[in-house]
């Protein structure tokens, strides 16, 4: 454990961005000004990874995780800094991309193995094992173009992991194929880990990180934001991704930029949401517990008088499952909303007490529409207007998303 398997010192990566190709040409003229913008992805990362250590990389989308993996693999070169890796590196980045469609699985396995510097005999000695692991059977002699995407990935994974590397780099892109094969892949990764292979693993799945890694590194804005035990780092990360009040403004900006796509905000605009926020009695920011009271405050601006205005919300879990939703129509507020004149503002306060949600992250979508459903007329629709985190409470624990009114009694022995 004395010499680290991977040693990274002040590693930086930036990409040059030109607004048009001509700028790149003009820049070649001696003495001309800089015409590119630097997109700084990684800014001075430093860390050591010991031999046999398994490290999880976490961070938001665009934090630079994939760039770091590509640098470690050698498919991208650093802009500055030093990077030392001991031994043979196998990267499971974009599996199967190097396969040639016209050649058979067998020929592709040969090529892929040779690309890793293996000899024909070495590969042939592993061939049965590879075919068995990929569960590809007779199809190995068929051209790869007739393979299903699942077969391709299985074969690619089998080849890539046929020989034990010193360092294994796994991107979460691995999460393809059916769950049966995923389990198999994880088993193999675990086997390598147990054989003292250094593992670098990128995932958004906290469970996978916690179960596979002894250490986690959080990358945020191109820096190492935290480096430590997985549970600790994940907690910090969860707090980070929970949208705070300050970030709400930013979030809204984001929503507006998405306007043209119509995916996040939609609606005809007679009524617009001005702000959507949450607050709670005991809670701070967007961090709640099951026992807290949640107040959802919605401010709408009526641009044009509309009939039968209804405002509704829907709480969804992290995976997009609808947990609970209702609207002013169902709650009997229709008449009060009907009388709104043009240019008036309305502040609507919805209270949920106690919140009653299980631990996890949720988001709230709000909508302004006519009558009891948004199918009639949709004035404004804001997907994922707020994100909240529900943590542990002093209520008795339960599993699942929402508490049901359950009681238990013990009937005397029968």
């Amino acid at each position: 454990m004395n010499t680290p398997a991977i040693s990274v010192i002040e590693l930086s990566k930036h990409f040059k961005q030109y607004s048009r190709p001509l700028d790149r040409l003009l820049e070649l003229i001696p003495g001309s000004r800089t015409r590119h913008k630097l997109h700084r992805v990684l800014q001075g990362l430093s860390f050591d990874i010991a031999k046999g250590e398994s490290v999880g990389l976490i961070g938001r989308n665009g934090a630079g995780k994939s760039t770091l993996l590509k640098l470690l693999t050698g498919t991208l070169l650093p802009s500055s800094g030093i990077m030392k890796i001991e031994g043979r590196v196998t990267a499971l980045l974009e599996l199967g991309m190097g396969f040639h469609p016209e050649f058979s699985g067998y020929e592709n396995v040969l090529m892929a193995g040779q690309l890793q510097g293996m000899s024909r005999d070495e590969i042939n000695s592993k061939m049965d094992e590879i075919i068995a692991f990929a569960e590809i059977g007779e199809a190995i002699s068929q051209p790869v173009r007739v393979y299903s995407s699942g077969m391709m990935v299985r074969l690619a994974f089998a080849v890539a992991t046929a020989i034990q590397p010193d360092v294994l780099i796994v991107d979460e892109a691995l999460a393809v194929g059916d769950s049966y094969f995923q389990h198999k892949c994880f088993r193999r990764i675990r086997e390598f880990r147990d054989k003292n292979v250094t593992l670098i693993f990128v995932s958004h799945d906290p469970l996978a990180i916690k179960s596979l890694c002894d250490r986690a590194i959080l990358i945020e804005g191109g820096y190492v934001a935290m480096d430590g035990a997985p549970s600790q780092v994940l907690d910090y990360y969860n707090a980070l991704i929970a949208v705070t009040k300050d970030e709400l403004a930013l979030h809204e900006e984001h929503i507006i930029t998405n306007d043209s796509l119509g995916s996040v905000r939609s609606g005809s605009g007679e009524v617009r949401f001005e702000s959507v926020s949450v607050s709670g009695l005991a809670a701070e920011g967007t961090q709640f517990s099951e026992s807290d009271r949640l107040e959802l405050v919605i401010v709408v601006l009526v641009n044009k008088r509309v009939d039968d205005l209804t405002i509704g919300f829907m709480i969804k879990d992290r995976l997009g499952n609808e947990v609970f939703g209702t609207n002013t129509h169902h709650m009997g507020l229709s008449e009060k909303l009907d009388s709104l004149v043009e240019g008036s503002r309305l502040k609507l306060k919805l209270k949920i007490d106690p919140l009653g949600l299980g631990e996890g992250s949720y988001n709230i979508t709000v909508a302004a529409h006519a009558l009891d459903s948004h199918l009639a007329k949709n004035y404004d629709w804001l997907d994922q207007a707020v994100t909240i985190d529900v943590g542990r409470s002093n209520f008795p624990r339960f599993a699942g998303v929402v508490r049901l009114p359950v009681t238990a009694e013990i009937v005397d022995p029968l």
Partner: protein, 268 residues
């Protein structure tokens, strides 16, 4: 040599298995599913040569001074075309290497130098078959001394160096400016007619002949054709522009590659 160091040699050795199977793969890929198989190597040049012989045969026959053989123009032409095809095939293969292998380069970290070596080998094999055919014919039909054929190896070497260095320059530039992919065929067309390949230089005006030594392709083609026709073989001076050109372009390619390697990987 330029751009050649111990690192490259060891890399090549480490990936020798990959190099060999890539060559085999290049060939099988080209002729897989084609009924004609390997005979197709001859097919395209044969048609090309037939057209030139029919169109220019009579016109140019008398201009091959001091050669009596009735096959003189055909041999002259075949040699030129076969080497020209080698040169353009290699150049175009090299210039597309980086972009065409983007998938591979993005996925695995392996030395880029492996790829041009593979292309050089496949183009050379493609050259060898028709060239062997020409040599066989020349030996059978004329009395050219066998030692002349050594010159063909020099020609092969020089044309390879030209195609590799020019191809690498274009290959690097192409990553940033895709225009080059479209422009190269026109440039090659121009070069083709600017060089005495299908016509003997004697048909040109005197002032153009005087300019010829500045064309880096002039010496290789003249040497190849003189060798097979047993004409006067150009001296070393004729090669000066070729050698200077190769040196400058190879240095340029090397410099461009060193300087832009990281950017190239970012851009594919």
């Amino acid at each position: 040599m330029i751009g050649f160091d111990v690192g490259i040699a060891t890399e090549l050795f480490r990936f020798r298995n990959y190099v060999v199977s890539s060559i085999v793969r290049d060939f099988t890929l080209r002729y897989r599913g084609a009924l004609g198989g390997i005979a197709l190597i001859f097919f395209a040049p044969a048609i090309q040569i037939a057209i030139y012989v029919i169109v220019f045969g009579n016109l140019l026959k008398g201009h091959l001074s001091n050669i009596e053989s009735p096959y003189a123009y055909s041999i002259f032409l075949c040699t030129g075309i076969v080497f020209w095809n080698f040169f353009t095939e290699l150049l175009q293969a090299i210039q597309g290497l980086f972009l065409e292998n983007a998938n591979l380069l993005k996925k695995a970290s392996f030395p880029f130098v492996v790829l041009p070596v593979v292309k050089l080998a496949t183009s050379t094999i493609n050259l060898l078959l028709p060239l062997a055919f020409i040599v066989f014919f020349v030996v059978a039909a004329t009395n050219v001394s066998a030692s002349n054929f050594w010159y063909l190896i020099i020609v092969w070497f020089m044309l390879s160096a030209l195609a590799l260095s020019m191809g690498m320059c274009l290959c690097i530039l192409q990553v940033f400016f895709r225009d080059f992919r479209l422009l190269t065929p026109f440039a090659l067309q121009g070069l083709f007619w600017c060089t005495p390949i299908i016509y003997p230089e004697e048909v040109l005006p005197i002032w153009v002949i005087k300019l010829m030594p500045f064309n880096p392709l002039y010496a290789p083609f003249l040497t190849a054709q003189s060798a097979v026709l047993d004409m006067h073989i150009p001296s070393l001076e004729a090669w000066i522009s070729t050698l200077i050109f190769i040196t400058v372009i190879a240095f340029g390619a090397h410099h461009l590659y060193k300087k832009n390697r990281a950017d190239m990987l970012d851009n594919i």
